[in-house]
Symmetry: C2
Subunit: 298 residues, 2 copies
């Protein structure tokens, strides 16, 4: 069994991006500039955005954080948020931006996502990018599935001709990863099955996987009986589980019962330190790509 080290891969990728940025700067080009809109003070969102801003610094990017307060008493209006999106769409200094999700319930997330200029949608959540991804056209791939594809490639795990089984059909992991891996091409070309809560006899399906991806958000859901000997297991779960022994009061738990599953695997990702660190990396890659495309358009 070999552990897939997402932390190490992420560090390498950030170094590669930083080198590309310094090359750009030496050529007289601008540093890529990522902006993030954060509404309210959700604990998870604060942490994610802080990590993204930190990653920008590591990659030599400029970054901007645009904060909005929103309370039940004084909710941020959707129009105000859409105006902020529009401003970033039209700001030539911004290469890409994200609106950190989730948004307060009174705001229509889809309306906000669809308001983002697809050419600056470095999260890859806009329907144009989702659609172009499915069609096999150039796009921004959403970060978590792109991180999984990158992790597999960097660890020499081929996907072509392989059976991939994905458990979970979310819009940010299961569905876009399926779309990526069923394309033609070197890092794709897999036979992909998407399973979910309505799949009967799930274990009989997951046991067919050369590469099993668990992305349903249920701690320890995938057990040894669900995994074939020699399979590669990718654990996308990052559920916060209360843990009094930690300073933070919680620990991250994956969807895979690591103890029992790991001995059967050829490769497996740990949680934390597997897929997680790759996600922010791929956001950085998308931002660099956005800057390069903006440059080409000049």
């Amino acid at each position: 069994m070999e552990l897939i080290d997402g932390k190490k891969a992420a560090a390498e990728i950030k170094q590669e991006i930083a080198a590309a940025v310094e090359k750009r700067v030496a050529e007289g080009k601008r540093r890529p500039h990522l902006a993030a809109i954060l509404v309210g003070h959700d604990g998870g969102s604060e942490t994610y955005v802080a990590h993204k801003i930190k990653a920008c610094a590591e990659c030599g990017f400029q970054s901007s954080l645009i904060r909005f307060e929103s309370t039940p008493e004084e909710p941020l209006s959707q129009d105000e948020l859409l105006a902020a999106v529009d401003k970033l769409n039209n700001d030539p200094d911004i290469d890409g931006f994200i609106v950190q999700l989730p948004l307060p319930r009174h705001i229509d997330e889809n309306a906000v996502i669809e308001a983002i200029n697809p050419e600056k949608d470095v999260d890859g959540f806009h329907p144009v990018n989702v659609g172009r991804q499915s069609l096999g056209l150039p796009c921004f791939h959403s970060a978590t599935p792109a991180g999984i594809v990158e992790l597999l490639a960097r660890n020499g795990i081929a996907t072509s001709g392989k059976r991939v089984v994905i458990v979970g059909r979310s819009n940010i992991v299961g569905k876009p990863l399926a779309a990526m891996l069923m394309q033609k091409g070197d890092r794709a070309n897999a036979t992909v099955t998407v399973c979910h809560s309505a799949t009967p006899d799930l274990a009989s399906v997951t046991r067919q996987a050369d590469i099993l991806v668990a992305a349903l958000g249920r701690p320890g859901f995938v057990t040894a009986d669900m995994v074939a000997d020699g399979a590669t297991v990718i654990d996308v779960g990052t559920t916060r589980v209360p843990d009094a022994s930690r300073k933070t009061g919680f620990r991250l738990s994956g969807d895979v019962d690591f103890e029992s599953v790991a001995p059967k695997c050829s490769f497996i990702t740990p949680v934390p330190g597997g897929v997680g660190p790759m996600t922010i990396c791929m956001l950085m890659k998308n931002t660099l790509l956005a800057a390069e495309r903006a440059e080409e358009k000049k």
Copy 2:
């Protein structure tokens, strides 16, 4: 074994649409109006467009055919075609339109498709519609996969909790059908596998299907050994095979070896008369939907 009669279902749907149109007209609303752009004189394209115009008449729609000549000596320029698309985008009298594919090779099909206003893209080929379909949002579903979903529903064949195996990963059938059937919801909720030319031991995968969809365009490819007893088989293939005994000089051949496969099935679609007639029907449904949405926006 029960034969799925696509011709009968299509006739019923066209009657339903025609009734809805007459109700609209009685309410003082406009008839839905579909336009088709046809470039050159490809035999298949001429036939398809003629069928679409005829279906418009059956449904009580207005229709417009916009023809462009294009020869190797005097090719239609892409800009001219884009100007025609733009005109239809901005014509309030047109509810939906299609650009009949394939286009001459010197024209970038994707650029033309992306120029269509997604709200008039009744073929459902624009990335916005492909993306919204994947995300489970309101959209125009592309016609052939929508026709398959409709055929299954009208024949009482449940998809929820079923194993669906799709052979073929085209942008107009395999991928969008997978996206539709893996959603939550009554006419979806299936465990979907997409197979293709790179799938090893294909028969072992297709034999697991409760519902097997053949959409690869290779006549007679699916043989009895690839099908489980009691499966439902949907044959999307419509390859023109030379046949001197026919007036046209060809016959349509499906991807399924009907003679050997049919006896094993609970349900099977014939070719012709199965999925084929449904496709144009679903284009009509999309056009009616486009007219209704335009009405709501007024």
